[in-house]
Structures are given as structure tokens and as C-alpha cells.
Assembly symmetry: D2
Homo-oligomer: 276 residues x 4
């Protein structure tokens, strides 16, 4: 798909690790749709992934930035505006990590230092990403900032752990900052609540297969893929959606508003045998 709906726009994309990443797909599509972009990620992610390949494909540069560092972020916006030749029209924040999840710590047994580390990386980094732009007045009027969330922010998914709390915080930051940035510069800030996605980060989580399968089965349209998500992100960066702000937008094939389907019930009851 390519209709040039981002023609003339400048964007910054956080979080493209490898070609399974949502951010990777967004970068590719944004460029096809006419945008010029800058890629960024934390130094360690840059080493682990294959972002240079993406930079080449999308004719973009990579500027390393730790999204928990105001200094790095400020440098990122300054360099990006210089490179792209003007203010920024859109930003994708696709960053999240929980040390407790990684290390297999249960929610009721969390290590609070790790919790705070996760909050810094997954949620506060969103505030800082926006705020660095704010301080420099780096966003164009009617610019668009997106974060990626998951429905665990609103309902419990048993292994999602403190990432659920981080996503709730992320969604709140979108609202809180959306008010101020909307008033100041007409910049819109939203989060997409995306289906479980087969990324390198996602599929490493214990129990991911089950979430993916259940979600895919229950959603009338099936799970939204990373490609689907890129298409949706691009629409939210475009001028077609200028008055959408402070929202958490479900992009999930209908999952969020499903309670039970015929097929899922049949599968469930096949093995449910009445004991609890």
C-alpha cells in the first residue's frame, strides 16, 4: 500500500529492533507513504538488532538515544530536525520492558528496583520523549505522537505482570500530556492498544503462544499483525485523523469488545471438566 499520505512529513521512530518489530514495519511504510524519517533505539538494542539494514532500506539515519535520558532525547530531536530540515510531524514510541517479567518474578513477589526500572523504560520514557520535544518546541502544528499499549492495562492477563501497570501509566501519560500539547501546538497524542504481536520481544515472554492463540481465536478478524499495525499507525500520523487525541485506540480485530465466541466456547468446553 502506498498513497503518499505522509508526503512531506518528518518522523522519528523509536524501537525498531529487527524486521519483526512493529516499529520496523512502521518505518518502512512511513517511508513508502512519503515521509522522511530518523530511526532511534537504545545503544544496547542497536547492537543486538539489525537496524542499519532498515536505515538503508528507508534511506534514513540512526541516532542512538536512551529514552530514559533527557540529554539523549534532546540530542535526538536536535539532530533529527537538522537532518530532516524542519520540525517533526510524527513520533512512534515503541518501547517496553519489564525486568520482573524477564527474570520470572511473580507480581506478588516483584523486585521493586526492577519494577522502577521497568516503569522508567516503559512509561516514564514516553513522558520524556514528549517532553524533550516540548522543551525544544520540536513538533509541527497538528503533529502526532503515538505510543504502543496492550489491553492488559485495563484487564488482567496473568503473566503480563508489572507491564500491565506500566501500560496503564503509559495510557495516562498520553491523556495528561495530550491536554497540554493539544492546547499549545495542536499536537495529538494517542496510544494504540495492539493485539499480541509476534515480535522478538513479545514472543520471548512466557506463555506468549497461549495469549496469541486465544486472542486470535476470540477476535472476529483475528489478531492484528505488525504490518496491520503499521498501516494503522500511518493513518494516525496522517492528516486524516487530526482531531483524534488523548485516546487509547484498540487495534485488535475486535478482541477488546469480545466476551465469548462460539468457537472459543467450544474449544474451552472440550477440555473443561467442571472442576475448578
Amino acid at each position: 500500500m502506498s498513497n503518499g499520505i505522509l508526503k512531506g512529513k518528518r518522523g522519528i521512530i523509536f524501537g525498531a529492533l529487527d524486521d519483526k518489530s512493529i516499529a520496523w514495519k512502521v518505518a518502512e511504510l512511513a517511508q513508502k507513504e512519503g515521509a522522511e524519517i530518523v530511526l532511534t533505539n537504545a545503544p544496547i538494542a542497536l547492537r543486538m538488532g539489525t537496524i542499519n539494514e532498515l536505515a538503508e532500506k528507508t534511506n534514513s539515519i540512526v541516532i542512538p538515544a536512551d529514552a530514559t535520558s533527557m540529554e539523549d532525547l534532546t540530542n535526538l530531536y536536535e539532530k533529527s530536525m537538522e537532518h530532516l530540515g524542519g520540525k517533526i510531524d510524527f513520533v512512534l514510541h515503541s518501547i517496553g520492558m519489564s525486568v520482573n517479567v524477564r527474570k520470572g518474578k511473580q507480581y506478588y513477589d516483584m523486585n521493586y528496583d526492577w519494577t522502577q526500572k521497568g516503569t522508567d523504560v516503559s512509561a516514564t520514557s514516553f513522558h520524556k520523549t514528549i517532553r524533550a520535544a516540548w522543551d525544544l518546541d520540536a513538533m509541527s502544528e497538528w503533529g502526532s505522537i503515538l505510543g504502543l499499549s496492550y489491553i492488559a492495562s485495563q484487564r488482567v492477563f496473568h503473566t503480563y505482570n508489572d507491564m500491565a501497570d506500566n501500560k496503564a501509566l503509559l495510557e495516562s501519560i498520553a491523556r495528561s500530556f495530550g491536554y497540554h500539547y493539544g492546547l499549545r501546538r495542536k499536537v495529538r497524542i494517542n496510544t494504540i492498544s495492539q493485539s499480541p504481536t509476534l515480535t522478538t520481544a513479545g514472543s520471548g515472554v512466557a506463555g506468549f503462544d497461549g495469549f496469541y492463540k486465544f486472542s486470535d481465536d476470540l477476535s472476529p478478524l483475528g489478531n492484528a499483525s505488525a504490518n496491520d499495525c503499521a498501516e494503522y499507525c500511518v493513518s494516525l500520523f496522517s492528516d486524516y485523523t487530526k482531531k483524534v487525541t488523548m485516546q487509547n485506540l484498540f487495534h485488535d480485530g475486535g478482541f477488546s469488545n469480545m466476551g465469548m465466541s462460539e468457537q472459543v466456547m467450544e474449544t474451552y468446553m472440550k477440555s473443561a471438566t467442571g472442576k475448578k
Copy 2:
């Protein structure tokens, strides 16, 4: 349980068919908690059920009323106030029926006359129940009116059909009328979104067992029973909850905020085999 928390209060209870009914349990408990009550139901339900037994147990009278008839409802309030010796403090509306569900019509194949009949009985009757009280100024200050809902009003449960739409409408009526009645008389109006419950009405629905089981398995506290619901209703009729209004209150052991649990996932994946 009995602490006299409804001492001196007068109530009207709609919808006690038999001793499995939520309304039946509410009537019993309300009386134990010190209230004097009047029972009511549609003439046909009075014939099918065993409400006289309940009247005896709770030392109350039965006044027939078709809740779709303003005339019947007006008569009900007038007689109730006369019998109970004053204005009404609480009302339970536990009424719902879908002809399409009964006759096995799918949502995409509904008979619109039946749909309208279901809406009249399940939702508009709630408006009329409130409005008959309004017209007579029959509610005491700080009175409490409750309707019973189900989460299908907000998420799709595949066999719930047009009852889902009726419950959405019911919840909206609680808000809309709650505004006016709150201003006029400080009367509060809420709906309880209750777990699937093993009533005569409920358990007749196709696939009820599956809903019940899945819901019970996913809810950390298990499904709320009719007895549990009676306790909750009584608390919402009491003076402990005077500032709660226009709300849809989930009474479901946590189901509404669960996405997935360890146990449900295990059961599901046992029989899910990857095909969709």
C-alpha cells in the same frame, strides 16, 4: 446475615419467579434486614411461579403488574404506598426477556417485532418503572432504584443476542433517568452487572452452562450467586451507599476486569490445536 440495615424502609421487588430467582433472594434478605416489601410480577409469571410462598415467608403481599403498562405500574405504586404506609425507599427491577433468544433466532436473522417486544419488556419497562414513581412522586428522598444487567451490554457473548442491546439500553436509562431523579428527589438509580446466575430464566438459555463455567473459572472469586447478589442489592438499598448513582456496578467475582488466568489458559490450550 441480618443487621437491620433496611430497618423502617419500604420496597417493591419485581421479578421473583421461584426460589432460584435473584429477586426472590433479595426479597427474603430485605425483609430479614428490616424492610417491609411488596412483591410484583407480570400476571403470567405469577401463574407460572411460586411467588405466594415467598409472600408468606416475607410477610408481604403480591400486586400483579405488567411492567410495560403505565396503568399497572401506577396502580402498583399507589397500592404499595397504601399498604406499606408511606413512600417507597427502594425498588428492584429484575425483568428481562428476548423472544429472539427463546425462539432460537440468530442476531443477524432477528424478527424485529420480537426484538421490539424484548426491548419493551427488558429495557423500556425500566423507564416506565421509574417514571410511574416519578409521576406519583412515590419515592422517598435518598431512595434507591436498581436494575439488573449483564456484561454482554459491553462485550459480545455470542448467544446473548438482542439481550445485549437491551442491557445496553437499560444501563443508559439508569444514567439518563438517574440525572433527573437525583436532582429532583436525591433518588439514586444504578444497575448491577451480575455474574451468570443459575436461575430458572438464565439456565434455560442455550449455552448457559458454558458461560457459567467459563465465567466461574476466569473470575478470581468465582461467579457471584443469587444469594451474593441479594447481599449486594441490600447494601445498595441501604444508607451506606447514598452517593452512588448512575453507575453500572460489576458484581462478578472480578470477571469484568480479567483478560486471562493461568487456569483458563491451561484448560483452553489443552484442546486448542492451532487451527482457526
Copy 3:
């Protein structure tokens, strides 16, 4: 704006009365974006409005249809497919009317015949619009059906009256039918919850000016206009949003997630003097 994002798509647009109508703007933009469309409205609305002018501008035909009549709707889809040369890719349902509102009946004093008439026209018509397509299998795979809603479906706005209940029902129908149509044909069904809009229909409502003003003042981006709404609708008809379904999407400059702003508070407190 025109990027050809609806190139090759066929659509049906309900409810374009005159050039202030949201549906009018959608029709114009959809055509610019490459779609071929059919216009429709109820016979009486066709007489009152200026739809022929729109038909000329958008190179489309007008097929009259009363959206409460399955016969009319069936005829509409049949003729539209014939005229457009294939199945339908998108449908806009922009229909709503409350006799109680028109006649100044308060919510607590509603005429139930009028209420039912309003429900038929404003909500059940959405079910019928979808169902007529379903019966004929008239939608393409990944087609998109949109209804227009207002936040009064979820919170009380004092003069919105029974339209609030109708909109709650409309949103529920989008979910309920969205499940079935998603499974069957991958068709997505959503509602847009739009800002108060200066249409001929809207601005006739008592107190509209106040709603418009308050909403515009509280929304960080201001109210979304009919033109803005057309842009958003077009994005939701396009292939950029294929996995969004069963949602109620706020398009309101942020209003839905605002509680209070500095400016609104200042204005309010200027004339609020402590009495209630």
C-alpha cells in the same frame, strides 16, 4: 486532501441532507479519494434537502430508502451493486431523530410511541442497514460500516434526552453485529463518537449552542468539524484500518477524556457564585 486512498472502492452514504451534513462532506471526500458512491436518504429528507446537487458534484446517483424498511434497504443494495458494478466496500449510516426532542418532551415525560419511533429511526435502522447487506451478502471482504454516535450515549447531557439511549443502542448494535460480520466476511463495524457539529439537524436542537461552545472550549484541539469527520471516516473506510472493529471511536479533539481545563474553569468560576 486527496491521495486516492479509496481508489476502486464502492460505497453507500446515508443521510446527506444539505451541504452542512457530515454525510455530505463524507460523500464529497470519498469521491475525491477515488471511490464511486451511491447516495441515499429517506424520501422526506430527499424533498427537504439539496441532495441532487451533491449527486451532480460527486457523479453519483440517489436511491431513496427509508432505513426502517427492509424492503427499501434491500432494493438500495441491489440497485447500488448493479449501478456500481460489484459488492459494496463501505457504508456510512448518518441517521438519527428523536420525536421527543423535537416536540420538547422531557425525558421523564416522554411519549413512548415517539420514543419507539426514535429508536426505530436512530438505532434499529442501523441493524437493518447491516442486515440487508448481510442477507444479500452485499459487502466485500474487509468492507467497513460506520455509524455516527455522540458521547451522550455514555454520559448524560441534559437536553439530549432519549437520543442518548438511542446512541447507546447504536453502539451496542455495532458490537453485536460486528462479531457476526467479522467472522463471516471480515467486515468491520464501528461507530464514531463525534463532537457536536454545526449541521442543520444538530443546530436545531434546543441548547445546541451551549453544548457546542462548552465542548469546543474544553477540547484541547477544539471541536471536530464536519470536514474533519469526513477525513476520519475516509480513513476508516480505507485499507489502513482493516483490523479496527466493534469500536466506538471518539473523534472530538480530546473532549471525551477531559475533566476540566484551565480556561473552562476560569470561565465557569467567573459566574458561579457558590449557590446550588
Copy 4:
């Protein structure tokens, strides 16, 4: 009011600073309703307030605890169980503080160290409060844990600043931990989303008067007071609400579901003059 609905129950109440505090009212009422309680607060709050007076009135002891310290909390539960003679039936967490708010830092200009301090005190302390009980298995079956929230967690109120994010996090913690504690011990965990309340903490916030007034004017039942809140808390500690868990419960006279009322509109339009 006193019906003995907490007879035989043991509780811990955090956050009673002085006789305007919600926690103060809860402590008084819980004791009247038959509970035996332990009071606690941070050492600095103990010095600033008048908690000893409350201890005398309610025949209870005060055990100092900084709710950000697992050590203090563990000591609190151990001492409380010893003093009260058994496991704990209910806990009220009424703690919140934002350094950014206190120091007048805007949301877009926050000091991140202060933000983290606020999160620790206002939200993570709720996790720790629950977790200390969990580690000691200190809660009785069907026990009840309550936190206090505010609707700013879900909609923006312009001066609420990072407390909005903290409350969003608090509500998420109630859900996340509610799942685990429900399964383990049938303990329910909820938050109450309370009207603006004239406490020493609340009324110190800039612009509080305006929030209080607007909220009181828009709510059909008016704002819920600290006394009202105590009554609601007590009902949620009692056995009448055993199946309510993982919920955020609005206790606000209807505010949360109001969009606009006749009176507020009139007041607003009196001083709104069309400029934005």
C-alpha cells in the same frame, strides 16, 4: 448510623491526619460498626496531625509505618495481628502525595525525581501494603482492601498533574493484585473514585475550590463528603459486598457519568462570551 455490620472484624486504617480526613471518618465509623482497628500513618504525618485523639475515640492503637517501606509494613501487620488477636479483615489505604503539585511544577516541566517520589508514596505504596499482607498471609479469607482514587486517573483535570498518572497506576495495581489475592485467599481489592473532598490535603491544592464547586454543581446528588465516603467504605469492608473485586467504584453523586446539566450550562454560558 450503626448496625454492627463490621462486628468481629479487624482492620487497619492508613492515612488519618486530622478530623477532616476520609480515613478519620472511616476509622470512627468502622469502630461504631463493631470493628476493632489499628491506625497507622507515616511518622511525619503522625507528628503533624492529631491521630492520638482518634485513637482514643476509637479505642485503638497507632502503629507508625512509612508505606514505602516493606520493613515498616511488615512490622505493622505483625503488631496489628498481635494486638487485634488474629488476621486482618480489611485495610484502607488513603495515601497520596505529589511533590510536583506541592511545588507548583507543571506537568510538562516535572522534576522526575519528584515524580518518582510521588509514585512511590501514592501508588507503589499500595502494592507494598498489599504485598506485606500477602507475604505474611495476614488477611482473612474474604478480606477487603480499599484504595482511594480520583477520576483524574481517567480524564484530565488540569491541575491534577502527575497525581493523575499515580491514580491510574493505583487502579491498575488494584486489578493486578486483585487477581492473585482473589485466587489465593478470596481477598477482594478495589479502589473508590471519590468526589473532591474538603480534607486538609485536598483543600491545599491550587484550584481545589473550583474543582469542588464544579463537581458539586454537576453531580445530581452533589459531591460525596468524607462522611459519605466512610459509609461507603464500611459497606465495602462488610460481608454484603464479598463478590466485588478488581473494580474502581465511583462514589461521586453521579459526576462520572455526567456530561452537562441544565444548571452548569446556564452558569457557564453566563460568562462564556464566544472567545476561545
